[in-house]
């Protein structure tokens, strides 16, 4: 854009409104200075946290696997070269102990063909493996020292300490060693989400399940089929639905009880802390400093102390949320009380109401919606905090999440729990926003910054 003002006009303005123009220049410099400082700080952090080193030594290949584990699973058979035949072994298999999947075919000569996709497969025979990768065939010879990488092999095939690995992308990989071929084939989805592979209900479609549940033919003599159905679902050993639900409930309870108790304790204390209600400087000051102290001690500190005292579980979580939020709700509540309009109170006094009634009708209706709005807001954000402090031992879904992540193998369970947490957070967000809007009569979302 071109400046609209001419030189003479600008000079006149400069003499008459000099301060305005100078101020504009300063306003321009401050953001620029901020940006420069931010860049310098970013450069400092780049070396302070050793980003290059950490990113250099990161195991990105693992990252791909972990992410894929969120929504898919792997079957990992081993084809071991025995004295006279090739033996198939299954370890930690979701397919049961002795599956016969259609993507493994036995060939006439005692070998096996493993299909990865339409154009990719491996044919395993004694002493050699033929790899078909995207329609091109390569022959991998196996000696007693190890496998040999064929001439002109593509980058998807690699030799590492006597093992030839073939990468089929998402479909999986094969590792050809001198004594065995190790295959990992990946499938989309969570196959045993509802029922364990050992369960009689595994692999049934909804119609069959309905029939099986109604059938009087007992699959397990100890209980009717519909009971067995629920038991098999809730006690699914890999997904542990019942345990996950219980832990999720613990997290919700932690947030609910912690916030509620904090509100019940904070509100009467607010009345004592507000200078315009309780006219005693010392009491006001003491309670306000108590709020500050409670608020400033990190939730982590409370959580860890109570975990030491009461052992892991929801009690430390409730206590941590209770103590921190008593401080925070107390502080916001006191501010709300001190900012009330004094006229309703004067009105009550002028008609001769008792001191209790002056407060009840002159003060409470003004602050209660604000206070309850805050409480609801904290309830909602504590549902999130409860997940995190759960991870340090305060129980609930957080602890379960951390345990699942530590194994580095149960990422699909992590995904399941994340999904549940997102649903719960969403439901609570919506419910609390609706309730708050009803309390204040207008969308109140705008007032409080989110945690």
């Amino acid at each position: 854009m071109t400046p609209v003002l001419g030189g003479e006009e600008l000079a006149r303005l400069r003499t008459s409104h000099g301060r305005l123009l100078r101020d504009r220049r300063r306003r321009r410099i401050v953001p620029l200075l901020g940006a420069v400082l931010a860049v310098i700080y970013l450069i400092f952090c780049w070396s302070f946290f050793n980003f290059p080193g950490a990113l250099g030594s990161a195991q990105w290949d693992r990252a791909g696997n972990y992410v894929a584990d969120w929504y898919s699973w792997e079957a990992s058979p081993r084809f071991r070269f025995g004295e006279d035949r090739i033996a198939v072994e299954w370890t930690r298999s979701l397919l049961g102990d002795n599956p016969d999947p259609d993507w493994i075919r036995q060939t006439g000569s005692g070998g096996y063909t493993v299909l990865f996709s339409d154009r990719s497969r491996i044919e395993i025979e004694r002493g050699r493996v033929r790899v078909h990768l995207d329609g091109v065939s390569y022959l991998v010879e196996i000696t007693s020292q190890g496998a040999l990488l064929p001439e002109g092999a593509p980058p998807a095939m690699a030799l590492k300490s006597g093992r030839v690995t073939v990468d089929f992308g998402f479909a999986g990989l094969a590792e050809i060693r001198s004594s065995q071929v190790y295959v990992r084939k990946r499938f989309l989805g969570w196959p045993n989400f509802f029922f364990d592979t050992r369960s009689p209900f595994f692999g049934m479609d909804p119609g069959e399940l309905w029939e099986a549940a109604r059938s009087t033919d007992r699959l397990d003599p100890r209980m009717p089929n519909w009971q067995l159905l629920f038991a098999e679902f809730f006690y699914n050993s890999e997904w542990q639905h019942l345990d996950v639900m219980a832990k999720l409930l613990q997290t919700i309870v932690m947030a609910f009880v912690g916030t509620l108790f904090a509100a019940l304790v904070a509100f009467p204390l607010c009345v004592l802390a507000a200078g315009n209600i309780t006219r005693n400087r010392l009491t006001n000051w003491l309670i306000k400093r108590c709020f500050d102290l409670l608020r400033s001690i990190d939730m982590l500190i409370w959580a860890l102390f109570f975990v030491r005292g009461f052992g892991p579980g929801p009690i430390p979580g409730i206590a941590a949320i209770f103590f921190t939020d008593t401080g925070t709700l107390g502080k916001t509540g006191t501010e709300a009380l001190e900012n009330i309009d004094d006229k309703p109170r004067e009105g009550m006094q002028s008609v001769g109401a008792s001191p209790a009634n002056v407060q009840r009708f002159g003060v409470v209706p003004q602050v209660l919606p604000v206070f309850l709005g805050q409480v609801l807001y904290f309830w909602e954000s504590n549902t999130r905090s409860a997940t995190i402090i759960g991870a340090v031992g305060a129980g609930g879904i957080g602890l379960k999440l951390i345990e699942a992540m530590r194994t580095n193998q149960d990422w699909e369970n992590v995904a399941y729990m994340v999904l549940l947490i997102l649903v719960v957070v969403y439901v609570f967000d919506t419910a609390s926003a609706k309730l708050r809007a009803r309390l204040t009569g207008a969308p109140s979302e705008r007032e409080e910054p989110a945690r």
């Binding site: 854009m1 306003r27 953001p31 901020g34 700080y41 970013l42 952090c45 946290f49 950490a54 030594s57 990105w60 693992r62 990252a63 972990y66 613990q250 309870v253 609910f256 009880v257 509620l260 500050d292 102290l293 608020r295 400033s296 001690i297 990190d298 982590l300 860890l304 102390f305 030491r308 005292g309 009461f310 052992g311 892991p312 579980g313 929801p314 009690i315 409730i318 925070t328 502080k331 501010e335 805050q374 997940t387 995190i388 340090v392 129980g395 999440l401 951390i402 992540m405 580095n408 992590v414 994340v418 947490i421 997102l422 957070v425 969403y426 705008r446 409080e448 910054p449 989110a450 945690r451």
Partner: protein, 319 residues
């Protein structure tokens, strides 16, 4: 004059009054029912919490007080020694008194005590993640604001992304990165930054939507393009609020990065978890004092800055 009864009300007035009384009674009944439901819910929740805890509340309560009584440093100076990494007279070669370990030497003879250094790490995690989240939130928030982007669909998409960033559990991001990058502060930085981007983005687009659109109209009349309108018409209005929210967020993030530190993100949180787990009283109290002082100082500083930025309208605490 209309007929009046002994209570000074007309027939109509009495009907209205009777109706009012029924409404009040009905409302009281509902309040009572709601209160009862709440009480039942709380009792149920308490019983459930108590039953699923490792130690029962009333069984453990006496031990809990015992723990507090016994969990004391040898003397008050011990806390100071732990804080400043001075050699302890009680040193017996165990972890409990190895204060000199972990000093960070800047020059021969001049060192930063371990806890103060780690507190610095945590503060830097918080600041860096606030900055990164801020830089991510600004463009996203403009894309989510209804007065900048007309298309409801793309706005909705950006808002859902912001919600997802906000609601996604931080520990999962941290845990995932710890598995890939091994334990260290980068996992914590990314986890806190992602959440910050979501939280700030939501606040920012609300600020943008409340902005005065007259400068924007003026710029449009003068033929400015979309980016110029945002930079010269909206930015100057919203930037003070943005920075103010970011400062508030930095305050919150110091706490958040302490907690994330305790689950594998490094910094003071992890050291605190270890020292309290090993019953090292002097160390634990040293860290508590350090955390308390830091958090109060940061709250105070950010409060002052915010007041300077947007005047007395600085929003209160909401962490």
């Amino acid at each position: 004059m209309a007929m009046t009864g002994h209570d000074g009300l007309t027939e109509m007035g009495r009907a209205v009054h009777a109706h009012y009384r029924t409404l009040v009674r009905q409302r009281r009944l509902y309040s009572l029912l709601a209160g009862l439901t709440l009480v039942v819910l709380v009792l149920g929740a308490l019983v459930f919490a108590d039953a699923s805890n490792a130690g029962r509340f009333f069984d453990r309560l006496p031990y809990f007080f015992d723990y507090f009584v016994h969990f004391r440093p040898d003397d008050a100076m011990e806390v100071v020694r732990a804080l400043l990494d001075l050699p302890s007279p009680y040193a017996d070669g165990s972890f409990k008194y190895d204060y000199e370990e972990g000093r960070v030497y800047l020059a021969a003879g001049f060192y930063i005590p371990e806890y103060i250094f780690q507190m610095g790490v945590t503060i830097n995690i918080a600041l860096l993640s606030t900055l990164a989240g801020f830089l991510l939130a600004v463009p996203l928030s403009f894309l989510a604001a209804s007065n900048v982007i007309r298309s409801r669909l793309s706005r909705g998409l950006v808002r859902r992304i912001l919600e997802l960033l906000r609601a996604f559990p931080e520990i999962v991001i941290a845990g995932m990165l710890v598995a890939i990058l091994s334990i260290g502060p980068i996992a914590a930085i990314v986890a806190v930054a992602v959440h910050t981007a979501g939280a700030l983005g939501k606040l920012f687009f609300e600020v943008i939507e409340n902005a005065d659109m007259r400068p924007d109209e003026g710029l449009r009349a003068a033929g400015a393009n979309g980016i110029e309108r945002v930079v010269f018409g909206l930015m100057p209005q919203v930037l003070p609020n943005f920075v103010s929210y970011a400062l508030l967020r930095a305050e919150v993030n110091v706490r958040a990065s302490t907690i994330i530190g305790a689950v594998g993100g490094g910094g003071i949180g992890e050291i605190f978890r270890l020292s309290i787990g090993r019953d090292h009283a002097a160390k634990t109290f040293a860290i508590i004092i350090l955390l308390l002082v830091t958090i109060i100082a940061i709250d105070w500083m950010s409060g002052r800055l915010r007041r300077r930025l947007i005047g007395q309208a600085a929003f209160g605490v909401a962490q």
